[in-house]
Each structure stands twice: as structure tokens, then as C-alpha cells.
Symmetry: C2
Subunit: 204 residues, 2 copies
């Protein structure tokens, strides 16, 4: 990973320290694996620094991500018990609600996603967390359930020192433009291409 | 992420269950961020499934990855105390040794990397772990300190059910060929491009 001297130093009137400490909007997009996994890895790192972690998971199905949820919530309890790390709050946006569009109508999904985003906006305005993981949040934007310009405005204008990580395929160009750090996870090879399905400890 | 029905089912004589449970070699490569972070995210997921986790970190500098190391070792102690999750062992290949090539000669680095790989081979032969994270392991291969064909042979012939995740830029084509799952983390945008340096909770 790049380290050391920046390629250019902008004429923005900030000191190196101020620039260094500017809170980030991070986007993990692309068709490959690792977008959410790396976001939860960042949460791990933030927890260790004592960050207050808020996860807002636009869930695909009740089964997904249970591993990360279990461990991060466990780390949150460890914080309560021992003071190590930071607090962790895990929100599933629309309980029992599924990306698969099975069960419920599309209107239900759209309104659940919109309500989820409203909750995130309230959290940002109140500076509730140091690090927000908005997992699979590109999809409600892509599907028009959440307004992209509204998201960008809320991110750009968020107060204080709040880091945001957004994951999902097909990140909108306006979101990419507003972000500080964007990684495209590209699929080179996937076991499913040769008939292998997901498995314990790797996919969940 | 892809889920559900595989695109093709190979004529390999395996049942779906056998194929599904085949242990994986995973490679995270490319110039973007998230390669190691996603690998440690996988370790988190594996820990939750009770996997024995072995991290073999070909360190860049003593400072790097301290966050993940602290948390994963903490989870390892939690396993010892409560039985939750699985055990965690963290090896820095070449104590005090640095990727930066500052301090020590190149020969020192090369022999430390070669010794590190020998230790990994012994671990694989003895089936010591369920999940191996070989962090930044592409570099000793790229620099000729570890023989790529020897790595590929050891991975292909490893016994039992051992998952392997290898991270780093410039993965050798032979490693990509031998791997089951390869993700290329591509840099779309990085804060350093606009003069921002690494910061607490994001980079470490």
C-alpha cells in the first residue's frame, strides 16, 4: 500500500495534520469479492482505536454476514465489560427484509431502505458514531429507493469527524466523485465459475 | 456477491457437498486498498466458525497492522477463556524485519523470508491451522526470495482442509492459476492523490 510522501500537496490552507485527520468517505465497489469483508476489517481496526462503530446493513438475507455481526457485537460487549476498543451498534435496515425481493413487495423494500437512510442521516447529524459501515448501500441508490444527491449532500455536509464506508456494486459516479478513497474489487477468478458454491467460514 | 446456482457444474466426480467444502486458495492482489483488510476480515469470519487461524505476516514495518493483530490476538485469548471462536496464532516472519529495506541487508531479508516460508510449509504439512493468512506474501515471491513453483506445489499438495489467503500486489500468474478465488483490488481514488496521508483507525 502507498505510504510516505503524498504525490501532490493541495493548496487548501490545511496543515498536514489537519489534512491527515480529515474524516474519509470510503467506497468499496466492483464485481469481485472482498467489498464487505474489507469494510468489516476496517471496523475491526477502528474498534481497536476506540472508535464508536455503527454498522448499517442493507441485508441480502437474514443469513448473511452473521459471522461479522457476531464478532463485532461481541467486541462491543467486550468494550462494555473491559473498556477495550469502542462500542459497536449493528442495525439491519428493515428487520427481516431481504434483498432477494422474495417476500414483501418492492414498495416495502423501497420504503424500508428510505427509512434506513433517514436513520443514518439522523445519526450523522447527531455525530453518533466515529465510523459508519453502510453495507450494500449502493443498491438502494441504484434502484432509486434512496436519492443519490441527497446521500452525497448529507455525506459532504456531515459535521465533525465521522468516517463512512459504503459497499456494493455499481457505485454511482456522483458517490465516487464525493468519496475520498474508492477501491474497485474486480473478479479475476471465482470458485462458482467452476461449480463451487459458498461455504462456511469463507462466505459467512 | 454471487449466490445460488453455479454457472457450470464440472465433471469431476465430486458431489455438490464435496465440491462446496473443498478448501480454497484465495488471492487478494492489485494496486488498490483492501487486500489485507479483507484477508483479516476473512480471518474474523473464520474465527467465528471456530477455525484455527494462523497469520503469517511478511511485515512492512513494526507499526503496520497492529490493529488487526491486537484484535485477532484478543479474540484468540477470548477463545482460550470462553471457548468462543477459534485459536489465533500470529507470526511476524522475521522479527523486527522490515519491507522498507531499511536496516539489514537484502540477504537478511531474503533469508528471513525463506525461513518464514519454510515454517509455513511445515505448518501446512502438519495441518496446524484451518485458515492461513499469508499477508504481503506476493513480495518475497516477486523478489525471488521464495520460489513460486515451490509455493504452488506446496499449496496444491497441502493435505486436509486448510484454507489459504495470500495478499499483495503483482501476484505471480502461476499463483493466480493455482488459486480458487482471486480478487484484484484496483485503485480508483486514494486520499494520497490529493495530499492526504494515512491516519489512525483507517490505515492502522
Amino acid at each position: 500500500m502507498p505510504q510516505g510522501v503524498p504525490a501532490t500537496v493541495p493548496d487548501d490552507g490545511l496543515t498536514t495534520r489537519q489534512r491527515r485527520n480529515r474524516p474519509l468517505v470510503v467506497v468499496h465497489t466492483g464485481d469481485g469479492k472482498g467489498k464487505s469483508t474489507a469494510a468489516f476489517g476496517l471496523a475491526l481496526r477502528g474498534w481497536n482505536q476506540g472508535f464508536d462503530i455503527g454498522v448499517f446493513q442493507f441485508v441480502k438475507s437474514a443469513k448473511w454476514r452473521i459471522g461479522e455481526q457476531t464478532v463485532l457485537e461481541r467486541l462491543g460487549r467486550l468494550h462494555e465489560e473491559t473498556g477495550e476498543g469502542g462500542p459497536v451498534t449493528w442495525h439491519k435496515m428493515g428487520a427481516g427484509w431481504s434483498w432477494s425481493r422474495k417476500g414483501g413487495t418492492e414498495d416495502d423494500h423501497a420504503s424500508a431502505a428510505a427509512e434506513g437512510w433517514d436513520e443514518i442521516k439522523r445519526a450523522l447529524a447527531e455525530e453518533r458514531h466515529d465510523l459508519y459501515v453502510m453495507d450494500e448501500f449502493t443498491y438502494p441508490m441504484k434502484w432509486g429507493w434512496v436519492d443519490v444527491d441527497d446521500v452525497v449532500t448529507a455525506l459532504v455536509e456531515r459535521p465533525g469527524r465521522q468516517h463512512v464506508v459504503i459497499t456494493g456494486r455499481n457505485a454511482d459516479p456522483r458517490l465516487v466523485e464525493a468519496a475520498d478513497l474508492v477501491t474497485e474489487m474486480g473478479k479475476v477468478k471465482h470458485p462458482m465459475d467452476v461449480g463451487q458454491k459458498g461455504q462456511r467460514g469463507i462466505e459467512w
